[in-house]
């Protein structure tokens, strides 16, 4: 049956996106659980150092919210994969939809998840410091660097961008797996296999790729790199997704 109602792409995407925000609330509760687990890990400290003379020894234990950020990145990566799975896709067909609106609403959802994940990851780092201060060691905090307001803003934005980058990567992996299910096994095996094989020849693949983003000291260049990479990953995902059979 044909519909005579003129459906606006923007409206459909918006409706789907809002629906996903409401129905995928589990994605965000899992973020909370994960960040709390990461906080627990971080309470043990990320390193330490010190020194002393004969009658005293000063020990400084260092704490950082790095683990929270890494967990958040893993969280978005896995969720990027999961939202491409059948269980999620079925939800989309409650609406008038096609691959494009589905993908666009997924990307918007990933963006929102990255925004929430990035901001809460940095905020969890602050929570870690407060917990350390009040429950473990009520001494003045030793800060290793002064961070200016602009650096904080860059830092929060960079965290969001990192989270989005890995969300996009997860989305691509998910799309590939949906296209060809056996890739669910082949991809991780190939990834770790190549990693080990190259490492045995002193070629550090992850380090090399990581440096491209993690060692970029210009915020503008970093943003360009991440947005470009994410864009490419998402366009490839969209192309792959369009190759899938049409659901009737």
């Amino acid at each position: 049956m044909m519909s005579l109602v003129n459906v606006n792409l923007g409206n459909v995407v918006k409706k789907q996106y809002l629906f996903k925000l409401r129905s995928y609330v589990g994605v965000f509760t899992s973020l909370v659980v994960l960040q709390l687990i990461a906080l627990l890990f971080s309470l043990g400290g990320t390193g330490g150092g010190g020194g002393g003379s004969g009658n005293f020894h000063v020990m400084i234990n260092y704490y950082s919210g790095d683990v929270v950020i890494i967990f958040t990145i893993l969280w978005v990566f896995i969720n990027g994969i999961l939202i491409t799975t059948k269980a999620y896709r079925e939800d989309d067909f409650s609406f008038v939809t096609n691959r494009l609106t589905n993908n666009l609403s997924n990307i918007l959802f990933l963006l929102t998840a990255s925004l929430v994940g990035g901001v809460t990851a940095i905020a969890s780092g602050i929570l870690l410091k407060v917990i350390r201060y009040f429950f473990f060691n009520a001494e003045p905090i030793i800060t290793t660097f002064s961070i200016s307001t602009i650096e904080i803003i860059y830092g929060v934005l960079a965290t969001i961008l990192y989270v989005f980058l890995f969300g996009s990567l997860g989305y691509l992996v998910g799309s590939l797996v949906q296209l060809y299910k056996k890739l669910a096994i082949i991809l991780p095996v190939a990834f770790f296999g190549i990693l080990f094989a190259l490492a045995s020849r002193d070629i550090m693949l992850v380090e090399g790729v990581g440096e491209f983003y993690f060692k970029e000291t210009s915020f503008l260049l970093f943003t360009v790199k991440v947005i470009t990479t994410s864009g490419i990953l998402l366009i490839v995902s969209l192309t792959i997704s369009n190759r899938q059979e049409v659901r009737l």
């Binding site: 965000f28 509760t29 005293f56 969720n79 969890s124 030793i142 830092g155």
Partner: protein, 231 residues
């Protein structure tokens, strides 16, 4: 890199087990929303509290503390050059015997160096000099460091004590890697070593009346100011 792979794999498995289960509705929609709301409130409140937590200033080479060299001044007999603010404590004992036996209760390398000077005085004086120990040019922990002490037992046995070492713990907070990535001159290794401690010193300076003969078994540890060390 290879060394951390097992950890990454374990974490991935852990995460997978959590995430694959999350479609099972452990929390209903309403409860989940309350959990999220509660978490955001905690984060916002902790940010507010964090602003009021006392913080030591970050390291600055300009602020590095430089105190007087106690050892050098004492060895050269120039303790008068040391500002009186570095005198932590003074003991004075009347001397009735013609000789003084000095005993160290610690291994000299583990405690403050000891100097003996003959002076034109009537009683025995022991001065403990102490210079500040400061973390990051701002957090002064000098008062927390235990002092060496002395005791005159009998009429002529001066015992020098060094207290048991104590451990002082501080929490150092390293900004997250995304906060330092765009900061000029901060390498990843610097992120966790950006703290410095200016270590202070202690010395025990003994001034004995000129007519007193000083005996000690700890010849290697005690410096006689203005004399060659006796064998």
């Amino acid at each position: 890199m290879i060394a951390i792979l097992p950890i990454v794999i374990i974490v991935l498995i852990l995460l997978f087990s959590i995430f694959l289960n999350y479609r099972v509705k452990i929390l209903s929609g309403q409860k989940a929303q309350w959990l999220l709301f509660g978490y955001f409130i905690i984060l916002v409140v902790s940010f507010g509290i964090y602003l009021f937590i006392p913080k030591g200033a970050p390291p600055s080479s300009e602020e590095q503390y430089k105190g007087p060299d106690l050892y050098l001044n004492a060895m050269e007999g120039n303790v008068s050059n040391i500002d009186s603010k570095y005198v932590e404590r003074t003991w004075e004992f009347p001397m009735e015997e013609p000789e003084l036996n000095v005993e160290l209760d610690y291994i000299i390398s583990d405690g403050p160096p000891v100097f003996v000077e003959e002076a034109d005085i009537d009683s025995l004086e022991v001065i403990l000099y102490k210079t500040p120990t400061i973390i990051n040019g701002g957090i002064d922990i000098t008062d927390r460091i235990p002092n060496a002490s002395v005791q005159l037992t009998g009429s002529n046995k001066l015992q020098l004590y060094n207290p048991n070492p104590i451990e002082i713990e501080y929490s150092g907070y390293v900004p997250e890697f995304t906060l330092t990535q765009f900061k000029q001159g901060v390498s990843n290794s610097l992120r966790i070593t950006g703290t410095f401690i200016s270590f202070g010193d202690q010395i025990l300076y003994i001034r004995v009346p000129q007519h007193i003969e000083v005996n000690t078994d700890s010849l290697e540890g005690i410096q006689f100011v203005g004399k060659e060390n006796e064998d």
